[in-house]
Amino acid sequence: MELSTATLLGAWVSIFLTICILSFLYEDNPVYKLAEHLFLGVSIAVSVVEAYYGTFKPNMLDPVGRAATAVASGSDPGWDAVSVIPLLLCGVLFLKLVPKLSWVARIPIAFLVAMFAGLKLTGEANANLMTQVAESMPNLGQLWIDHGLWDWSADGAGVISGLVLVLGLCACLLHFYFSAPHNRPLRVVSRFGVLMLMFGFGASFGYTVMGRISLAIGRAQELLGLDRSLEQNAVVHPRIATLASIVLLVGVLAVWKLRGGKPESDEATES
């Protein structure tokens, strides 16, 4: 299999940069910081390029261009003419950079914030309030017919679970109710709510561990060449690239240490 020099170089650069970031696990060091700032620069640039070609150009510049061409040729620009408004709003937004006129930028900001506020309001009310409340009320009759009190083969579905769900939800909500002092009965209910919340947070922790390990697996697969075909590996030699990167980095860090280099914060090394 033949790979272009750029592809081969890319594979080695990718492995080297991975090792640079992983070096933070030993301690904060200049190579890590260099890679970190490289990442910041590239990621911001990627965002801007994609925002320009994905949104700015097709949704504003192209229709404005068409409208301008139409006007110049004496024909009707039609609906494209409306695109001048977002162009103006964007121009006004950039006045934020001019101290004397920065207040004018409040207009597009107000527009955007109000739009998000309006969308959030109805979205939250519909999906997270109404639907969740409605779906939490168990149909006990149907649960009894389908599963009885407790159906182990259906993950504990049944009347008991239906009741635990709705009572647990109420208890959690009461736990977050601060408009009245938590007297004894309320404390008991609130306690039940806390226990339910602990179950939920515990499950979240379990899933979070899984997610974090998964991300490290992805990097390990690249360093070991397990994400490529055997033919590609025969050309790229990812394990040699990994080893070479580690050796190079250890050398650089050794020189840095010998010259009296210290991590800027103790956070990375404190035990």
Binding site: A51, Y207, A220
Partner: protein, 282 residues
Amino acid sequence: MFDFLVRFQAMDRRWIFLGMAIAIVLPLLFPFKMPFRVDERVQALFDEVDRLPAGSRVLVSADFDPGSRPEIEPFYRANLHHLFRKDVKIVVLTLWESAPPLVQPILEEIAGIYGKTYGEDYVFLGYKAGREVAIKSIGADIPKTFPTDSRGTPVERIPVMRGIQKAADFALIVNVSSGNPGTKEYVMQIQGQYNLKLASSTTAVSGPDYIPFYKAGQLFGLAAGMPGSAQYEKLTFPDGKVPGGGKLMATASMDVLNLGHLYIMALILFGNLAYFITRRRD
């Protein structure tokens, strides 16, 4: 013994890191391929996609970036294989600015394996800024939100987009979601309003958050984290062979999750044990 336990608790964190690295690398080098089950939520997702008649149109919102790639890229790949195999027409878009250079090549690679034609069988509409605003706009008017595809071709000239006006015109929407904007925002902004058939493949961190959506019928299927992707791979490629010679990356990673989880559990157990013994002595 007491001193040892005190020192054990204060051990340099780099030893813990080293242990984690070993727990990840060892099973990758020496896999033991343990079987795993498919959960009801992934099965529901697969079945619904599998029931689609040829020629249906599906919207895939690929909202992830390299940061969550190992968890949900395998799902994205398997789902595209599944859809192309069933001769379903696919429209892919993304709401993540760093996603297009990642998701577009994968779409083209898999389309190439099945001999699909760009524009006729699939299209990549590209990225749209605006998060919830973009989702709301997709629900209302897709040609207005995406006047062109990622190559700059006007949507009215793309055959696969003919007759598509809004999100509800798709048979299904599959959201490959790595956070915000993603599944939660789709559910909030348009799923309920237009009664859309929405499924989600998401990161493990978001998994527990989306289960209430699945239980409430707002999602018809849910594949959470690497196990969710591995299960979808298992259903899509029952013989373990990927057309085009690809690898089942999530399935191959399940062994590592085994050891990784055991390692973390051991850390918690030993950490607690040492804590309780030394606390009693204090």
